[in-house]
Amino acid sequence: MESVWVALALSLKVAGLATAITTVLGVAAGFVLARGRFPGRNVLDTLLTLPMVLPPTVLGYYLLVLLGRRSPFGAWLFDVFGVNLIFTWQGAVIAASTVAFPLVFKPARAAFESVDGQLEQAARVLGISNIAVFFRVTLPLAWRGILAGVLLAFARALGEFGATLMVAGSIPGKTQTLSVAVYEAVQAGQDDLANMLVYIISAVCVAVLLTAGYLAPGRIVRR
């Protein structure tokens, strides 16, 4: 029973951090692609959307290859910072972030594109710096669309299984998230534990959806 709460806490920690990372990166990428005019935009958009379409196991494999100590990047991480991400909960955060990224990026891009450019121009003529225009006009007006994506990303990160298993493995109390624990419990024939776990996950998901409804952007912006 104790292990269930450990797994839940780990799941929430991983999903929460992954959502935070994904929100920052997804909003930034969405803004750049909505406003930037540079060659290769469409290719970049495709690459950034790929995690949504690729099987999570494939994605997990890529991450394993990239972060593993045999890759130049993984070796550099280990040599310079002494960091090893494989089979750690931090690795699970990276896996969940990658999988959830397009869920923020896509709606963020659409939301930024729907902001009337004239409002930004009006703010600039009023003497507001470009950075301040982003925080005072662009972001508040795009926030509706972005928030919807952020909540989806959290739900997706919470349910992440394939890529997480590949990158972080299933070490009870260390990297075993709820979704992975369910699989392990069923494999081991522990039906009671499996039942318990799916109820908890279901309850958490309902809670997330209710929160989403409560946070509904209409309350933040208006009407």
Binding site: Q118, Q121, A122, L126, S129, I131, A132, F135, P140
Partner: protein, 243 residues
């Protein structure tokens, strides 16, 4: 106002191209650029505000060079200190009337609080009779109220010139006359130099101390500026070059 513009810009959209070629000099306070829609009036105004960069030429406002392609001067819109009234007002939909008017007074990274009070903002709220809707969002206002808010937002920081893009086009005809009078009185009160663009002869009547007409001469869509003035005005035409 000392206004000295000589700009050239070619815009392309697919196979169509559009050449903006405007020269005008004026020392009047009330300037009107008059012409049919699509003649490049808005582009000219945007160039003055710094929202459009001409390929070559210069723009001087009250003796300050804000743009000069040869000298490599191109001030950001933020540094030009002009008030701009957009055709559909461009009020910030997420901010109430008071916050909209106060928008340009603070240059911080966050918006003025709904509760914040500025002396100048309150002055213009009273002057335009907006007290009752100061806490409302722009969507809840009528056309005339929206225009007053946009005007207050543009002038509250005391810009060195006021640029107005078809200011009355979005209003219904009965309101148009009222707002025209209000703007005319306001200009005289503040003695603020203005450039108004319009396709409405009535605006020319009211504001046109100095009138520049933009026409597009097909087929190459070349825009030329020419000067004319009301018969009873003594404004000289020689301060506008005709190309």
């Amino acid at each position: 106002m000392q206004l000295d513009i000589d700009i050239y810009k070619t815009l392309r959209a697919g196979k169509r191209s559009f050449t903006l070629d405007v020269q005008l000099q004026s020392s009047s306070q009330r300037n009107v650029i008059y012409g049919p829609s699509g003649a490049g009036k808005s582009l000219t105004l945007k160039a003055i505000a710094g929202l459009l960069t001409p390929e070559r030429g210069h723009i001087r406002l009250n003796g300050h060079t804000v743009f000069d392609s040869r000298a490599g001067v191109d001030l950001a819109p933020q540094a030009r200190r002009v008030g701009y009234l957009f055709q559909d007002y461009a009020l910030f939909p997420h901010l109430n009337v008071r916050q909209n008017i106060a928008f340009g007074l603070s240059h911080r990274w966050f918006n003025p609080r709904a509760r914040e009070r500025h002396e100048q903002v309150e002055y213009w709220i009273r002057a335009f009779g907006l007290e009752a809707m100061a806490h409302q969002l722009p969507d809840d206002l009528s056309g005339g109220q929206r225009q007053r808010v946009a005007l207050a937002r543009a002038i509250v920081a005391e810009p060195q010139a006021l640029l107005l893009d078809e200011p009355f086009a979005a209003l219904d005809p009965s309101l148009r006359n009222t707002m025209r009078r209000e703007l005319s009185d306001l200009q005289q009160l503040l003695q603020i130099p203005m450039v108004l663009i319009t396709h409405d002869p009535q605006d020319v009547q009211t504001f046109g101390d100095h009138v520049v007409e933009l026409r597009d001469s097909e087929p190459d869509k070349q825009i030329r500026a020419s000067c004319h003035h009301k018969a009873n005005e003594a404004t000289s035409c020689k301060d506008t070059s005709i190309r």
